[in-house]
Symmetry: C2
Subunit: 340 residues, 2 copies
């Protein structure tokens, strides 16, 4: 039987197309507001999968505009009552349900301080939409599986579309417009080879660098949510500063490389771990020793990284079922988590 | 036989006192430079343990000054060649060895852009010191064990001292001056009760919130480095947004609570996981169901969080030996890691 999660993964290309078509005006307005503000820096406000979308947008914004992006712990406002100085800034709040109290409190604080505040949410009306100057409906459509998939991808698509409008970067705008086509190719890729090497492992690393680190973070969370496995994400460079201690014989490592400036170094790190006896799979044709997983070459480093999540989602959904679990309804989890 | 790691842990209070005494003038100068600059935001540049020190300082600065702090991926400069706009900012680069090429490249970029740039390093002269406007010797003294302990604590002590000078906050300045005394008490605390509950586990979570999340991050890394265990750090709120899926019967959770505004919520989360059958230890007298670990009440929320790392270091060093490992020389690791 097809799970809701599998059906929702298959809907991703269509959901991305719907977002770009129906929200075009609002995405352009948010981009124009950022261009007018020319913020010295930005902040992001999010948790869970949404925070991984925020991390993706952090890299995308820093690489494209040179403006630093600070990820704010939502507790700063909700628990600590910190008086953040955000007047010269822009804020991006991401919440699928639009109602976790700590996210809403922090977004309200940013708006009150005079920041341009953009809400990326799948629920309108919602408290997060009311808290922000530019509420954007990511139009992922109903998402029934507890593990977010469509809404993760569409949060990033919306952010990239706003970034394209903000900067007027023609290459990026073209790549975003072409995303639904690329995602339709990516959703068909098969990563089941990786499953064969996971064997009895309960623990693994997922590595990336730059925007692909945000994809790795989302992938590691999905392993936990749907398969009860302790996957942890690291930057492919950061992991060498200590965490590599765990990487011994047969330790599984999934390395997500995009076609960007980091690809060569990421492939080298994958090969290095492979040489130590780890079981390494990598989305790069540059690897010599690590096993290669198929990927879609989208023609732009940012969309290229984003497209990696689709074959991963397909893989982890099947992996969850193969372990006798139900990826639609993980134990211990509910769809909407509210924290203060 | 006493390990180098144990000896270095015991030296922490003395190292902190040495730093505050001998570097007083330079700490004051760095604080004065920040006061003069009044940066709209700050950035941090670090990896590994040093990055956990940077996370601590991010919370400390945001809570105390209201200025957002962006953690920059060092690859932005070294790999992606991003042209970051940091003129109105201040930068804090942390590197014990002072020479990882990606950290140095990013610090040089910040200085070149006109940022006040502070280097916290245990090695002078060093490339990171040359790259920054305000090089500060953290004076941890020789650190032989591969796992950083003294240098982690002194990086934070130096940062807090600069913050006190920057803001002139009398309470914080007093707490920092009193830190060597508090650390001397903390180093004597015994957390071996937690060891009894780790049993055969290979995987666990370490939770914190606010500044204590930075301590949890450092603790999780030390579990990996010295004991080959997959410990992962999470915000006590963030963990509820998905990762809690792993927290079932007998799953070990170490919860680091400080005497701050988050303590009540953190103790509640610890009790909630305990009620689900997890084995939870928490540094709070407010917990009803989770087991309590001893802590030092330092009188200030920031120093209170920092003091938690000392009994943890003592615990993990003994735990590593009890597993037949050598905490001084973890497999697969060397003292200085250089990445690009």
């Amino acid at each position: 039987m097809q799970t809701n999660m599998r059906r929702e993964i298959d809907e991703i290309p269509e959901a991305a197309a719907r977002l770009l078509e129906r929200s075009a005006t609002r995405l352009a307005q948010a981009g124009a507001a950022l261009r007018a503000k020319d913020p010295a820096f930005l902040v992001t406000i999010a948790r869970g999968s949404s925070d991984h979308a925020a991390l993706f947008l952090k890299y995308a914004i820093e690489l494209t505009t040179g403006r630093p992006v600070a990820s704010l712990g939502p507790s700063l406002a909700s628990i600590y009552g910190a008086d953040l100085k955000l007047g010269g800034a822009a804020a991006i709040a991401i919440s699928q349900s639009g109602k976790s109290p700590d996210i809403v409190a922090m977004a309200e604080a940013a708006t009150r301080a005079g920041a341009v505040s953009i809400a990326l949410t799948n629920t309108l009306p919602s408290p997060i939409a009311e808290a922000c100057t530019h509420p954007l409906d990511i139009l992922a459509g109903p998402e029934i599986a507890v593990a977010a998939t469509k809404s993760y991808v569409n949060s990033i698509v919306a952010g990239l579309a706003v970034l394209g409008e903000w900067t007027g970067d023609a290459t990026l705008k073209h790549a975003v417009a072409d995303l639904p086509n690329q995602l339709a190719k990516a959703v068909k890729l098969d990563w089941q080879d990786f499953a064969g090497d996971l064997a009895e492992a309960e623990s693994l690393y997922v590595l990336g660098r730059g925007p692909a680190l945000a994809i790795a973070s989302e992938a590691a969370l999905k392993f936990k949510e749907t398969s009860g496995m302790h996957a942890e994400a690291y930057s492919a460079a950061e992991v060498l500063h200590g965490p590599v201690a765990l990487v011994g014989h047969r330790f599984p490592v999934l390395v997500l490389a995009a076609r960007d400036a980091a690809e060569a170094s990421v492939a080298d790190i994958a090969d290095g771990m492979s040489a130590k006896g780890a079981v390494v799979h990598v989305t790069s044709a540059r690897a010599g020793k690590a096993k290669r997983l198929p990927f879609v070459e989208t023609g732009h480093p940012l969309t290229d990284a984003l497209a990696l999540i689709l074959p991963f989602y397909g893989f982890v959904e099947a992996w969850s079922r193969s372990r006798g679990l139900n990826p639609d309804a993980p134990e211990n989890l509910k769809k909407v988590t509210e924290t203060r």
